[in-house]
């Protein structure tokens, strides 16, 4: 039986826990932290970074460092929330053909859900390295306003 894991995909930070012997244990990331910043960046060379590393380079690469993307999930480009966020976010928020939100990272358009999936994929990679197996049954708790 696969292990049961729970993921908190947060607006600013994300966290993963695994059920072990009846208790939920938080899995630490590569640097020993219990939470990982929900940040994705693409460097000048096209390399994608996620988490702490993406956060550290943010100031050198503000237009291609995406944070707080959860706020944009499921919203239309024309919605007042997106229009307001657009004025304060350093990264490029664009409109898709169907009116959804797209984020431009070095010329490539990504949906907010796609950016979130990069964060999940990163956490999954770290987790797999630690637990040595893939979680099949996965609970996903999303806190905050959606």
């Amino acid at each position: 039986m696969g292990k049961i894991i729970g993921i908190d995909l947060g607006t600013t930070n994300s966290c993963v826990a695994v059920m072990e012997g009846g208790d939920a244990n938080v899995i630490t990331n590569a640097e020993g932290g219990r939470t990982t910043p929900s940040i994705v960046a693409v460097s000048e060379s096209g390399e994608r970074t996620v988490g702490q590393v993406a956060k550290r380079q943010a100031i050198t690469n503000p237009e291609n460092t995406v944070f707080a993307v959860k706020r944009l999930i499921g919203r239309k480009f024309s919605s007042p929330e997106v229009q307001k966020d657009k004025t304060i976010l350093p990264y490029h928020v664009k409109e898709a053909e169907n009116g959804d939100v797209r984020i431009d990272m070095r010329g490539k358009l990504h949906s907010p859900a796609e950016i979130s999936s990069f964060i999940l994929a990163h956490i999954k990679k770290v987790r797999r390295r630690l637990s040595g197996r893939d979680g099949n049954r996965c609970g996903n708790h999303r806190s905050g306003l959606l």
Binding site: G21, A30, V53, A54, R56, Q57, I59, T60
Partner: protein, 210 residues
């Protein structure tokens, strides 16, 4: 062979949906065998008692295992607590000698007739000592200045237009970073160069962006 066939029939009442699957063709034959069997009720009771005993044993074992796991969890939690509490013991003991030396330095610096140079020398020696201790605990400083900016080790604090440095180079270090074993203990706090906008360099130096 005959024995297993008999069981099929005995279980007939409880396993009606399974019975036809097992062996419907030789049903009549089995009934004949059943009549010859010693005592089907007694046989059934024996089997039941056996199964009951096995179930009890399994239950007993399961409970014991659960209790053992619970104990193990408690013990390992306590062990971890202890480990956390005293993990720094060895390091702190070594740091105490540094504290002693610094105390002596303060004493001698505040006493009359002590020249400044010897105080500086003393503090430098103490710094050296503490770096040795850190090294023994696998703590290493990160080389940042002049290196290409690497977010895996450096934290960008700000950017500066520099014509004499290739872009994305560490041009200033506010605070040194450290590694412990292979893990980042603290990133270097750095200023990163960026290409001069509109080609006008602040001080006229040769462009080395290649």
């Amino acid at each position: 062979m005959a024995k297993s066939k008999r069981i099929v029939i005995e279980d007939e009442d409880e396993k009606i949906p399974q019975e036809p699957l097992e062996s419907p063709p030789d049903h009549e034959e089995e009934i004949g065998e059943q009549l010859q069997a010693s005592d089907p009720v007694k046989d059934f009771e024996e089997k039941l008692a056996e199964a009951q005993k096995e179930a009890d044993e399994n239950r007993e074992r399961m409970l014991r295992m659960a209790a053992e796991l619970e104990n193990f969890k408690k013990r390992s939690a306590r062990d971890q607590e202890d480990l956390k509490k005293y993990a720094t013991e060895n390091l702190i003991r070594q740091l105490l000698t540094v504290v002693d030396n610094l105390e002596r330095a303060v004493d001698s610096a505040s006493s009359e007739g002590e020249n400044e140079q010897s105080v500086v020398d003393g503090v430098a020696l103490t710094l050296n000592e503490i770096m040795k201790i850190l090294e023994r605990h696998y703590v290493k400083p990160i080389q940042a200045l002049g290196e290409p900016f690497d977010p895996a080790f450096h934290q960008a604090m700000s950017q500066e237009e520099k014509a004499e440095q290739p872009p994305n180079t560490v041009v200033q270090e506010y605070q040194k970073g450290y590694l412990i074993h292979d893990r980042l203990l603290r990133p270097s706090m750095v200023v990163v160069s960026k290409a001069v906008s509109n080609g006008q360099s602040p001080d006229n130096t040769i462009d080395t962006s290649a």
